[in-house]
Amino acid sequence: MAETPTRHVHFPGMDTTVLGADEIIINMGPQHPSTHGVLRVKLHLDGEKVIGSECIIGYLHRGVEKIAEHRSYQQFAPYVDRMDYVAAVSNGLGYCEAVEKLLEVEVPPRAKVVRTILTELQRIASHLLWLGTHALDIGALTPIFYCFREREEILKIFEKYCGARLTTHAFRIGGLQYEVYDGFEEDVKRFLADFDRKIDEYEALLTTNRIWVERTKGIGVLSAQDAIALGVTGPVLRASGVKWDIRKAFPYAAYDRYDFEIPVGSNGDTYDRYLVRMEEMRQSRRICLQAIEDIPSGPILGKVGKVMKPAPGEVYHSIEAPKGELGYYIVSDGTTQPYRVRIRPPSFINLQAFDTMVRGHLVADVVAIIGTIDIVLGEVDR
């Protein structure tokens, strides 16, 4: 392997030139089974205790924002799927809605509902992947197979709908490109019908398991104040006790039509984040159940032209992606290409809280904490 480029290690507010007798610096990643991709973590340890950390990222940087400036609005849409590649549908939704806002186009209700269903299914799929890998990191070998079994069903629905399983490019600016396939409702209903019992199954394995509780309770505590100061969003924020979800705060797609709860934790530890995400899956199921019953008929694409030239100006639009607030800040100069696309990646900003969460814990907890933030390096590095 090529020599990793040397980077100056720097722990803010800490003199690293002089190490105490028991202090060592160890390096985790970028090739490591539990860093969920090419994350590199430098840990400053006192014995086994972490007293400082630094995340070194950028190994997967592809310059997505730069590419956006050189593609037309439609051309850029598939690129966003490659950021959080385990929740491509959510990325696509965020981008499409942002451009629609910029264009001031209204999306037909049928498209909105189908978008909601697919996005919620994607949230379930993303959380399932998180649960499986997180449990695997903590040493539970079995949940990942159960999770993949259900995720497979969701991916099959995606595949039938748009032909792709992972990087779906499911939506188009202005609505949908494809009408739902015959049997879409039945497929979704069949999946949702017994998914609740499947969640019970995962919970039976973990929720009250003594070892699981010992490994997650009180680990990686993030207070509400810290979470807000660090800009943390999504399940991580909610587990710290802040009841905030963009689906409720600024309803987009068709979320204002459905009943659902926002699960909140109280301790802000890894266990609470686990519970919050489990409950979110149940709520996503609830949304889908309501949505699938009543898909309005009508057109699926709003009034957008083949050439998109938004009026000059700018817009910020964000959605509640599975990992947190996924925002797009798009500046238009009136041409067919965006002048600037800024993506606010939830993983990137949530990962910044890692240092706060990990201090004072043991090395073995680092793995649990990386898992609980639920990062995707494609999105962190863009």
Partner: protein, 437 residues
């Protein structure tokens, strides 16, 4: 010449058993691996190995061939000699421990009068294979795995020892054979007399084996593969062989001391004599299944292999059936049926090990140590005292033994409950100020 024959004569049968064990064990270990993969697949809602042979039945052989043919890589800065010899230590220690294991009233290499101590002593040597292998690899992951392993095994050996003592007090002997005989005499398996001791043995035994949920020395999400990280090919296979043999050893000790060894359930109750027919019936069913499935295999060779396994099962059925027809006092009958029951109980242990592995998450190292030192060891000490007190009451004051043992168990459980409560009162890391914003 005669003198030599005379000298060798008493050693011939043990020698035969030893050869059988050494020859068959790798195969058995291979099939335990297959079993583990199948059990894992079953728990994880999938099929497991299905390609090599019908239902993957030839997978172990394919694996063994592959491992034999693989390049033997020794890392550049490794300590060659120790790297070379470490896996051998593991395997040798584990196999040596089998030499005092009674697989039945007949099938035992040597019945030592310190049998149990011998097994414990020899199997504790296996740790050197792990520690030295980890050190010689010249890799941080391997070294950390080795260190964890050493600390863990030394800690849990105390709990294992204490749990064994609670059974030993009841048996009144260290000889493996006499332990089983003591259970036959008292008419009850010691697992029911000292349930706490049995439980502690089970937990600490898993920890001694470095198996999940105590598999920190090879925790793949933290240490890649622990002490085995740098090993490959046949040397790696030797570690595996050692590990699975150690599983058999731990299961064997547990079976002998707590589950009545080669005795069938209710050995002294004539009403349960029909259980003697169970082994033969079981294997007959297995034979039937094999022959039933054989024509349904897709490829001729798979049909043949399935048929072959059917014939194998038929052979075992015949042996078991023949044994049942023998008079009760025949050596062969006791030997064959005893071996069946012993292996069945060992299988029970192995299955539970696998079951735990695929159900539980992994402990953190400090939690593991705390569990060992703060919970298992004190509880096992109290348990030993309870058993001792029960014996004294039985012998001096004439109490029925079971009353004393129930009392001891109740006291032990009370202590355990107290320990758990104390542990839970420990403050959890700084709770955050939550609340809605």
């Amino acid at each position: 010449m005669d003198a030599v024959v005379e000298f060798l004569k008493p050693h011939l049968l043990p020698l035969l058993w030893a050869v059988v064990i050494v020859a068959v064990l790798p195969l058995v270990a291979g099939y335990i691996v297959l079993l583990e993969r199948k059990v894992m697949a079953d728990i994880q809602a999938r099929l497991g190995p299905m390609r090599v042979g019908p239902h993957g039945l030839l997978q172990p052989i394919a694996d063994a061939l592959k491992l034999l043919l693989k390049e033997d890589i020794i890392p550049a800065n490794a300590d060659k000699w120790i790297f070379w010899i470490a896996p051998l230590i593991s395997v040798t220690a584990a196999m040596l421990a089998l030499s005092a294991m009674p697989f039945g009233p007949v099938f035992q290499i040597a019945d030592l009068n310190v049998g149990l101590l011998f097994i414990v002593a020899v199997s504790s040597l296996g740790i050197f294979g792990i520690v030295l292998g980890g050190w010689s690899s010249n890799s941080h992951y391997a070294l950390l795995g080795a260190l964890r392993s050493a600390a863990q095994v030394v800690s849990y050996e105390v709990a294992v020892g204490m749990a064994l003592v609670s059974g030993l007090l009841l048996a009144g002997t260290l000889s493996m054979r006499k332990m089983v005989e003591a259970q036959a005499e008292q008419g009850v398996w010691f697992a029911f007399l000292v349930p706490v001791g049995f439980f502690i043995y089970l937990v600490a035994g898993i920890a001694e084996l470095n198996r999940a949920p105590f598999d920190l020395p090879e925790a793949e999400s933290e240490l890649v593969a622990g002490y085995m990280t740098e090993y490959s090919g046949f040397r790696w296979a030797l570690y595996f062989l050692g590990e699975y043999t150690a599983m058999i050893v731990v299961s064997g000790i547990g079976t002998t001391l707590f589950l009545g060894g080669w005795l069938r359930p209710f050995p002294n109750v004539a009403a349960f004599d029909f259980l003697d027919y169970l082994p033969a019936v079981l294997f007959l069913a297995l034979t039937g299944y094999c022959f039933y499935r054989a024509p349904k295999q897709p490829v001729p060779i798979q049909k043949a292999v399935m048929g072959l396994f059917g014939v194998l099962c038929l052979g075992i059925t015949a042996a078991l059936g023949w044994a049942v027809t023998l008079p009760a006092e025949a050596v062969a009958r006791a030997g064959i049926l005893g071996a069946f029951w012993f292996l069945a109980k060992v299988f029970l242990f192995l299955y539970s090990f696998m079951w735990f592995r695929f159900t539980f998450p992994r402990y953190r190292f400090d939690q593991l140590m705390r569990l060992g030192w703060h919970f298992l060891i004190p509880v096992s000490l109290v348990n030993v005292m309870g058993v001792g007190a029960a014996l004294v009451l039985h012998r001096q004051a004439g109490w029925p033994l079971w009353q004393g043992l129930v009392l001891g168990t109740v006291v032990t459980l009370a202590v355990a409950a107290w320990l758990i409560l104390v542990r839970q009162r420990r403050p959890v890391a700084a709770p955050s100020a939550g609340g809605e914003v």
